[in-house]
Symmetry: C2
Subunit: 195 residues, 2 copies
């Protein structure tokens, strides 16, 4: 290991200017790839930002309206605004037009929240799917992101992030599956861990 | 997209047997790779597990004892047991022997907690580093993990996860950096987002 490996995010107490206002900027963060941890890492940022008293809101796409996962239960308990609008994963959906309409309605809500400018962090969970399917125009989304307040962070999760979004984003991570118990051992998703 | 793409963790309400006790098992999860999101995804699981009322504990290695990040502030507010023992990232450390001793002392605490069997989730954050440096024997760690209660989940984060650990783990994800604002734009880590 060399000093080059040092991750500035891991030791933020070093360096007097770190985190000073001159270096602060709202980031557009994309978590993509076929592996686990895309939504989960967004939830980790939500946890961290809540620890600092930041004002955050979560918009979930695709996932069932009214679904009760560990994360939405936690958000309820912490009074973090959270909405899910969808009918489940769309390759299982019987009515693609209805799925597309729900995604567009959710984007209306989310883009209003972005433009209202009151949040410090907005998470658009599974938002890459309606973009990848062409239900929502990625260039229109980027136009909205460009109009957000300078200090607002936006996190977008999901597979197949469109190239235009990757190009525009500040921080893009690909989660790659190395080993997965559902495939290899026939083990199912564990409550509290994966949902 | 085909049904093959459906991620069982994303739509757990489908399938009557999903999450039934027959399918439950404590997982050993490793988040590794050079990209962002390893610790962050572990925090996301912590958030989710807290939403389900699970009993979790976090042990941080390497990070400065007493450091106050967004995540430790959140854990304090939620009464989640959390300890950090370290003197910062070791390639910056002046006294490697002291760093190694601190890591071993922290592993003593963590392994006691694993063997005590009272937690449903234990996070060993940045634990791959003392393993990769040879300060702690990976086979001894695996022996402890094998003795944990069947339903206990353990998450280990950090770069350069040893092969033996990857081999033993149930779920391994590599976080790959696609785009990083610290490198490309000279932007520093943002409080509440990255620490």
């Amino acid at each position: 290991m060399t000093e080059q490996d040092a991750d500035p995010t891991q030791a933020p107490q070093r360096g007097a200017r770190r985190g000073s206002s001159a270096n602060r900027k709202g980031l557009v963060i994309v978590n993509t790839g076929d592996g686990k941890g895309k939504t989960t890492a967004a939830l980790g940022v939500l946890f961290r930002s809540w620890g600092r008293g930041m004002n955050a809101e979560v918009f979930q796409f695709i996932k069932h309206t009214g679904s009760r996962f560990g994360e939405s239960r936690a958000a309820d308990k912490l009074d973090i605004p959270w909405s899910a609008m969808g009918d489940g994963f769309t390759w299982l959906s019987k009515d693609i037009d209805a799925s597309a309409d729900m995604a567009r309605a959710q984007w209306d809500e989310a883009s209003n929240a972005i433009l209202a400018g009151e949040r410090e962090l907005i998470i658009l969970d599974e938002f890459t799917y309606p973009l990848a399917y062409g239900w929502i125009d990625v260039n229109g989304v980027i136009d909205v992101l460009k109009q957000r307040p300078e200090m607002m962070h936006v996190i977008i999760t999901g597979r197949n992030a469109p190239d235009e979004l990757v190009e525009y984003a500040d921080l893009v991570t690909e989660m790659r599956e190395i080993k997965h118990p559902f495939n290899e051992q026939g083990i199912r998703a564990q409550p509290g861990i994966e949902f």
